[in-house]
Amino acid sequence: MRRVLTIAQMAFTETVRDKILYSILVFALAMIGSSTILVTLSVGGEGRIVRNLGLACITLFGLFIAVFIGINLVSREIERRTIFSLLSKPVRRAEFLVGKFLGLGLTLAVNLGIMAAGLMVLAWALEDHWTPRILLAIGFTFLELLILTAFAILFSTFSTPTLSAIYTLLVFVIGRLSADLMEFASQFGGPSLKATVNVLYYLLPNLAQFNLSSAVVNRLPLDPWVLTLTAIYGVLYVAGILSVAIAVFQRRDFR
């Protein structure tokens, strides 16, 4: 356990020293700030744009962080062979992956926190468009990003950095679409299409349910039971993907 935490801490340190992170963060805060301009262009719906743009930025930039930094964490170690000095210590391969995952999770949490704080300040300054439920939406976005991080780590155990990035982004796209795809298939599809879509739906995560922005922005009621189930689904999914990653990683040869 101590080893896992050591690796996690080092992973966090590594990502914090990565300059790309700062560029992404600055860009994200700038975009969130740009909603002030958009507010002046609208009549009606002023508060919404701040919250919608803020949440969308947090999701997108969080996604970039999860994908690009997540992939570097494992792929770069293997590529640069710094992993040898690590795996020749009494570190189990599972501990390595879990440690990296935790470190990246912490990085994500910190960055999302900073962006959330920026959004809070903005929303509060611009005539109080803040609701605490925005934090709930950000929390679920965090869970969504953790799922994608797990995928990024899984892909980078066996694939090149570029391909891993592409696969992870594909998972994001299909994951967000899977609910729509199910509907589409049930309405228009033949049996083979339905079967394929069914497989995709259950195999890949249904990410749409982690997207609370519409409900939060429109102040619609949220069912706590549904939210709890969604959270459990997320956690189980992360555990599942990480387990697959560990299984793949166990058999991998490091030349």
Partner: protein, 311 residues
């Protein structure tokens, strides 16, 4: 006493290329290293030395065969607590300083904080990096990285040191320092297993040697056994030799004498010929400068083994 390293029938195949062609890198390797000895693992490039080492550490899985390290099966993480490993062409996290990296390694080894804090500066000093301890590794030269690698291998007082090409990239001073370090470890009772293709390093410090060619262990045993007790030749260097004496000596010699100015050097096949030659030379009032017995060199054995394997 159980051997520290014991492998039997170890094979490793790789699949390369688009069609997944099978390439055999190690064939039926059987080898044992006893506690406290310094074992030199020799072979030309591509023979499979690094592959063997990675198998010992569990970095790759064998295709067949098995082995034990320190009584644990290959790849068992617990064994690695007592192993210090230096990879070939090591690379470490560039954004860390030497000190930070050693601390990180120590924590992964499960060392207690106090002991780690003692050992880190001591090891850095031992490998000559005490002034660079606070510099980021990205600023280290190749030699410095190699030395840091040695330091992290020594961390935690491992019972077994496994070093893959420990002197690669080092200048002669660096190589001597590494040899001295290995000798110190041997004096401390540690087992050292290192691979190299630099023969003099092995000749000077190893107890036992293994020669790997084309994935097969073609020679193994103590230096004495391999090199044999017999002499290969004896070199005699002398000066002021009259011409007839030289002709007489020449007949005894293995090859035409080497003449450099006044000095003449002859290679004689054995002690009998040496006696006669010395008798003739002294009788002709020549000055004998040196008599050097030549044992079989490791190099000649190595080349011979390589030739056999090609055939």
């Amino acid at each position: 006493m159980e051997p520290v390293i014991q492998i039997g029938g170890l094979c490793k195949d790789y699949r390369v290329g688009f069609w997944g062609r099978r390439v055999t890198v190690l064939r039926d390797l059987t080898l044992a290293v006893q506690a406290g000895e310094t074992f030199g693992y020799l072979g030309p490039n591509g023979a499979g030395k690094s592959t063997t080492i990675k198998l010992l550490l569990g970095l790759i899985q064998p295709t067949a065969g098995d082995g034990q390290v320190l009584g644990f099966s290959l790849g068992d993480p617990v064994a690695r607590r007592h192993i210090g490993f230096l990879p070939e062409n090591p690379s470490f996290y560039e954004y860390l300083t030497g000190e930070e990296f050693l601390t990180y390694c120590g924590r992964l080894l499960g060392m207690r904080r106090g002991r780690l804090r003692e050992q880190t500066p001591a090891l850095l000093a031992e490998v000559g990096l005490d002034r660079a301890a606070r510099q980021q590794i990205r600023k280290y030269s190749k030699g410095m990285v190699q030395r840091l690698g040695l330091a992290q291998a020594l961390l935690g007082d491992p019972k077994l040191l496994i070093l893959d090409e420990p002197t690669s990239g080092l200048d002669p001073i660096g190589r001597k320092e590494v040899r001295d370090l290995i000798l110190r470890q041997r004096a401390a009772g540690r087992t050292v297993f290192f691979s190299t293709h630099i023969l003099p390093d092995v000749e000077m410090i190893c107890d036992r040697v293994g020669i790997l060619v084309g994935g097969r262990l073609v020679r193994s045993g103590s230096m004495r056994t391999l090199l044999g007790e017999e002499l290969e030749s004896i070199e005699v260097t002398a000066t002021s030799i009259p011409a007839e004496t030289l002709a007489a000596v020449e007949r005894l010699a293995l090859s035409p004498p080497l003449v450099q100015g006044n000095h003449v050097m002859v290679r004689l096949p054995g002690e009998a010929e040496l006696e006669i030659a010395l008798f003739i030379l002294v009788g002709a009032k020549s000055r004998i400068l040196s008599v050097v017995p030549q044992r079989r060199s490791l190099e000649s054995i190595f080349l011979e083994a390589n030739r056999e394997a090609q055939a």
